[in-house]
Symmetry: none
Subunit: 216 residues, 4 copies
């Protein structure tokens, strides 16, 4: 006899899969119920409406991200290690939860205007990780001032997009080989390269351009 918690877990798993593949409007409650091995009426008994189900999926997902990032970036890391930990943890998450980047992209597309407050709280935990790295880096004189929100979105957005671009890159394959491109750069390597590039780009002693005003 599956406990209620187990059933709810199966429902969330199924919903994550379905929402990730079809988006909120495209997802069908029938399909979620079938995937979860639950009767449709049972699903409503457990979760309520389609919207509440979606919110539960978001909440669980973002909670997982926040937890993983906090664990991956130790309090005493220097900026380079911090960036690498952060992007590495994201790459790992995207590998283990393939629906995560898809759902993140959808949420971004919809502007997050409808995101429930509970999910926003997880968002703040996630952002705090980047914020801490930047703060410590600047305090230690290692990083030039930069807008944290922007840096954070650069890191996360790039990895989301790169992770999602896999099928597209595959369709590029033929043309790519002619140009000597490696389209199959694994996500983990891309994450490391990104961390490195950003760390260089934000370093105090990087090649100076004209001092840019887009700094805090």
């Amino acid at each position: 006899m599956d406990s209620s918690v187990v059933v709810l877990g199966r429902i969330l798993d199924a919903a994550t899969e379905e929402f990730g593949h079809k988006g909120f409007s495209g997802a069908k409650v029938d399909a979620i119920a079938r995937r979860a091995g639950v009767n449709k009426a049972g699903l409503y008994y457990h979760v309520g409406t389609k919207e509440k189900l979606y919110e539960a999926v978001l909440l669980r997902l973002f909670g997982q991200v926040a937890g993983a990032l906090e664990r991956a970036v130790p309090a005493d890391a220097d900026p380079r290690q911090g960036f690498a930990g952060l992007t590495g943890a994201l790459a790992d998450l995207f590998g283990r939860l393939p629906m995560l980047p898809r759902i993140m992209a959808m949420e971004m597309a919809s502007g997050g205007a409808t995101m429930p407050e509970a999910a926003m709280a997880e968002f703040r935990r996630i952002f705090a990780v980047t914020l801490t790295i930047l703060e410590r880096g600047r305090t230690a004189g290692l990083l030039r001032p930069a807008e944290p929100v922007f840096v954070h979105l650069t890191l996360v957005g790039t990895l989301v997009v790169y992770s999602l671009s896999k099928p597209l890159r595959r369709r590029f394959a033929a043309a790519a080989r002619d140009l000597g491109l490696r389209l199959d750069l694994p996500l983990a390597e891309a994450a490391a390269f990104l961390a490195d590039t950003i760390a260089r780009g934000l370093s105090v002693d990087a090649t100076p351009g004209e001092e840019h005003h887009a700094t805090s």
Copy 2:
């Protein structure tokens, strides 16, 4: 007397708006027709099915992007100017076509697996712009080797995400002020900052980290 092409333009405008706001599944053909000021049957007369309509929207949108980028990055630009031109043009586009980043994010989320070949061709034109900058930069000894696909996705993905994050950033406002953050960094400034950061990060004479293997 609205010529057929005018009507089709109105339909594409309306469809772009509706798809951008609701996604493919969430968009309603009725709403598009109403918005375009045409009868629903008339819409089908002009475009065919909902799917073909979506494809036409994608095609027009990506064509606009490709054209704008090609115009914005002159053939003789150095890397720094090239990156700035590219991100600036994107920022400009995202400002004038607010549905563009949304639809790009949705396409990313869906993995682009269903993108029609015609749209892929525009994609290739878009990517070619980044590719050219990197090639020329490397030939001129200004840039260290980097995976072009990844760099391209970093530039585009970051701007898409930042552009879309506007409503979310607004919801962060209260918390942000306490932390001394500027959440309202305009897209154009973010674009310039990004171009600068990437140019620095890819410069030959940037602070060296351990040589990373994720290079071509």
Copy 3:
């Protein structure tokens, strides 16, 4: 509490009526649902698509025909009794199921090219009845050789057509009375007359014409 099978029966009844009166394309799912006293979505829950519904109607109808004919033609009947039993049973069926001859005529008109295999199986059972009569008659030396398929279609086709001609005959009424015709010959009598005529026409000792080559 209407069991599911009862509802399905009501749906099939309603569909038979509607398809019989309007043909497949002319029939409206709305009308069938209304007639059956079920919600339109409920109809889809039970049957699937309009096409599946039509197939189910065909299957039930032809099954009823096959069963009735098999019961009506005993194994030890002589040809004359056999023909009479067969045409009598058909006349009875056409009386009780007025939509049957209409649907048969439609299926004939459409060439049966789209008839599902399950319905074809019932068709074979129906044809087997005629086949058996002819076989036994020939073995017993009572019938001259004849092409069974053709004989079968003569019997069935004639009764279908006669049964359907009722309204037309009615419109002929005025002209007919002037000619001393009985247009209202009941179907059962027509069936008996047909059986008699065919039995005579196929008898071994019937007035010989030139031996015709259209025989097996």
Copy 4:
């Protein structure tokens, strides 16, 4: 410059084909116009509504049948020749106008309740051919009394049904070969066999059954 008459002929041809294949409700005005090489609005200019178009098709078709039958059954034919001429002419017509039997079957299925008066007149001409044969045969003492309407429907209905059964017979092919059946009996031979069988069956000196009351 196609004269109006020529265009109308093309339209009727196209309509015959479309109505014959899809039935009245299933036929699409678009398809008819396209097949006829006429603009849809032009079709309406020439013919009026879909219903009028259908009536025109019926009228032309039945007129052709009436003419052919009258020509095929000379005034001084004996019954056997008369039946053979009639069925032969029908077989010929069904061969040349494949849509004819289909449309006849559909009209039968719909009960002819909606057939326009003009088409009814052609119907009467057609029926008159059978009537004349029977009358002369009885007057000459060659035929036993029989209900003319019924005999007529036997002849016509059987040939319609046999002609239409071709695709069905083809699907029977495999099973048929095992039973030694000839399913491909050409229509002309079937017509001759039918005429022979009916002539025998109605002959005065045919094997007597009990005198049947289903006679005029």
